[in-house]
Symmetry: C2
Subunit: 308 residues, 2 copies
Amino acid sequence: MSDDIAARVKDALRDLSIHVEAFLASCMADRDIPDALRESMAYSLMAGGKRLRPCLCLAWAELCGLERARALPFAAAIECIHTYSLIHDDLPAMDDDDMRRGKPSNHKQFGEATAILAGDGLLTEAFLFMTRAQSEPAQVLEAVAVMARAAGAEGMVGGQVLDMEYTGRVLAEEGDPVTLDQLRTMHSMKTGALIRASCEAGAVLACSGGVQRRLAKEYGAHLGRAFQIVDDILDEVGDEKSLGKPVGSDRDKGKTTYVSLVGLERSRELAEEATQQALHALERLTGVEPDWVDFLRDLAQYVLIRAV
Amino acid sequence: MSDDIAARVKDALRDLSIHVEAFLASCMADRDIPDALRESMAYSLMAGGKRLRPCLCLAWAELCGLERARALPFAAAIECIHTYSLIHDDLPAMDDDDMRRGKPSNHKQFGEATAILAGDGLLTEAFLFMTRAQSEPAQVLEAVAVMARAAGAEGMVGGQVLDMEYTGRVLAEEGDPVTLDQLRTMHSMKTGALIRASCEAGAVLACSGGVQRRLAKEYGAHLGRAFQIVDDILDEVGDEKSLGKPVGSDRDKGKTTYVSLVGLERSRELAEEATQQALHALERLTGVEPDWVDFLRDLAQYVLIRAV
């Protein structure tokens, strides 16, 4: 049964991401961008990956009744934001990672200056693409605000600052150890906010009022938490090939993880709890496209399966 | 007479920038931003400067009939974008500048990682602030698009890539020398685009149709060019105190400048020409607030005065 879910989710993600990739590829063509910059942006943007965040946005938009094509520019923009964050996180001054998705990281391939600028370019282009979503202008604006809040100083960027701070503390063996609460807050900003906002923005674009928007946000928040805990588990017990990086590399870098704080078994329980809460949000949806509810349910279960 | 103009412009910029600074200060307060990040963002954002770009946006918005308070969040956002670009340009991998506006540059004060993230944070917050402009949602969205295009890979970020490429060529004494056309294109992207877009976005926010928007863009493009040529002239003949950096520092870094390409006298002529073209755009405006036309005329002349 878990094989069935995995197969269904992979198929659905592949179908959705074909549209996202086609949009991204067309966006980068026919533009007056200096060659070195275009190449560096495209290198990371078209490096594959599951395209989870844009697919979440599309799924929630369609679930709430907005045609896929109308939400597509916005969904593609989210992938640009995610990609920029990976490029900047890999920089020598940050996590100093030489490899990403089995290829040299952006700064290894193009140099540090170009990598910083490719990230800046992707982040800025993202907001251009968002304005091209086809919905009520007031709703598009609201979705832009949701995304900027999630990606900015109170969200993803702030989370990266906390991550660096906590890691520095561990490596220097100074200060108080990181608590579970701090770890949770850090992750809800660093990775959770963008996943949550991808769902919420989909609902907002589809002009969905209070309840659906709230449930999208709730589902996204719990899914994001499950996703992060599973990531920490896989860092300990995953295999190098599917991880795309050595096992235990987070631990070696001084990162505090769910596993290092509460152990493997309790981490699995926490991931299971978060997944149940995500599913609970879906159960409370009414009057929406049932196929998309099925997809989002499968997706939440799939995230958990990886950790078992 | 040129003393009168300078005094008037300085007064007007000071009056406008009080509002911008108050808005920026209030934006950074009461937010759930990690302390280290907030401090680093505020350090550069509140470091003074003429606030030229937000003042241009406010002036064009008011000139076209939109109340100042309604455009203020958008104008403040433009200053966030400008500030982020200075932080990233100063990084060791880029221009490697230790000082900015008479203080240690952001990475000197807070370290490279925090400086990169402060820049990322400011750029992202900028798009949040833009959504708070009070005008027709479709117009706000269009103004966001204007700004993203100007700040992104086809504009400011692309211009910085070209600047690095040209500088590298000069320092390595390799490849063809930079031509006047290339220099002009590079500057129109790196510094011109944001100045032009500040004017254009003001008109767009005020729901101004074809002609006013086109004249705003034209004025901004010529003003931006004059501004850059004068900058190059001052790098040769200015005094260190008002420049905030050593005389000739661009030349020493391998930057090609208008002066290095066409000499001091021809550079002054080019600056004069650009200023005349900016003034010509203003002359063709009809049915707008005359006080703001006067301000924009003074401003264009003031830019030029500095170079004489």
